[in-house]
Symmetry: C2
Subunit: 304 residues, 2 copies
Amino acid sequence: MTINRRDFLKTAAVTTGGSVFAASGIAATSAAGKTPKVELKISLQEGKAPGASLNEQFDFMEQHGVVGFEPGGGNLQNRVKEIKDALSGRNIKVSAICAGFKGFILAENEAVRREFFDTMKVIIAAAGEIGSTGVIMVPAFNSQKPCKPHTQDTRNFLVEQLRTLGDYAVTHNTTVILEPLNRGEAFYLRQVADAASICRDANHHGVRCMGDFWHMTHEETSDKGAFLSAGEYLQHVHIASRKCRSMPGEDGEADNYIDGFRGLKMLGYDKYVSFECGLQSKDRAATLIAALKLLRDQWKAAKS
Amino acid sequence: MTINRRDFLKTAAVTTGGSVFAASGIAATSAAGKTPKVELKISLQEGKAPGASLNEQFDFMEQHGVVGFEPGGGNLQNRVKEIKDALSGRNIKVSAICAGFKGFILAENEAVRREFFDTMKVIIAAAGEIGSTGVIMVPAFNSQKPCKPHTQDTRNFLVEQLRTLGDYAVTHNTTVILEPLNRGEAFYLRQVADAASICRDANHHGVRCMGDFWHMTHEETSDKGAFLSAGEYLQHVHIASRKCRSMPGEDGEADNYIDGFRGLKMLGYDKYVSFECGLQSKDRAATLIAALKLLRDQWKAAKS
């Protein structure tokens, strides 16, 4: 695997540029067995911070040290100027783009696959314009049928299709990010190690993966093990409370992320940990401020 | 997941006994974040050591500090006395039992599933008599057809069937051990994290999993990540050279197990690392002695 990684880095070194591909640096760090000082870069999906407008949300985020913003992919192409303007002069960058595509890549029906590629390409191009780390995608939700059968042939097909999508992403200086979901939403891809293995098969610096603590709670036996398996391919992380998918901390003691944070520190993970969650409390601002403190305290407590 | 583990340990504490279930102790160790002194317990499959008879092989193994023996499951019920006699008074114990069953658990055809259960039960009973840590099984080889489709329903079916098998194994003071193989042999179960997730779903102390460095070379992006995901469920490990599945060391620099050994040390893994491999060299004894030294040197070098 070391050899694979070296080949990967060689390829990456020749063809990539821009911090969006810095994830490949993770491999070198972890391969060397070092645990460097890694900062926790927190991101919020749109609407998680209080505020009616983007500017009000960004003001709040800056005041509380949130450095990443994760918009949805829907209609993103018509929001590029709005987002650029709202971010201009701020200490906040776009993290990943959350889905927003139509169709799905593993559809039996070619027209449905074409719809996926057509809508993804529009989102990828917009993502590149606003400097996003990548566009999150799911190979197949349980509700999306007819879906190709879960076989080696389908896996090979997926890898080939991802390379094509990865080529397009790289020309726009961004990536596509595979997200494993829990079995209730998407049985096809449930575990971070499987997503990372697909990335390794694709061997394409525009094809990455992520982990979502909410889904991982249901599918992973070890948060640390899952993130170490993601390794150099880890491009994004989602976080939520672990019982009700609310703000971290709203589920009390269940909201322990320390083991996963250890894994991220061991990797030298330099991308974002982004809130994808609901809210139980009526006080968004106070709950979010408490969540930020909880994550920063647990990040400090995570000795790898 | 900590909560799951506590529940698991509670159950295990009530119902289990005997070192065969000591794996549950691993959870406590790793949960505490400690890295205790862990010894490398090496095991050999039958025929890996030079010697025409079991006694000749065991003499060689004892001379070189090999403490585990992994027989095949075929005809094991008729070899219980032979194996017990040959092991009597020696510092060698039976590790896992390598397969030997007929049929397969995910067969569409009920008669083929019954054949699997009937033959597994005979092997499990014999395994218990000789104090084995567990009987290795594969849910479905690629060649075994017709096989149930790779769906959530099949996964649920597998978990239910494993509980039944686990009950039988526990009454014989042993376990069943799920082995992930590379995609060329068994696409259904390829990754250690998936096998561990099946064990967690089964939530049965008689249902365990393993990792085989040979298959892991092809399917895992991180040996350490894979073993950390196996966690408390890890009951056995197979090892071979990483290019040709020969004796460790016969593939030169490719035969690096240090990252995986780090994971095993982090877990406090107290079961066996067992040779399942061929031989390129004409000198079995010298190649085996060199392999034992290589693994012991890499185990020492594995700082977690």
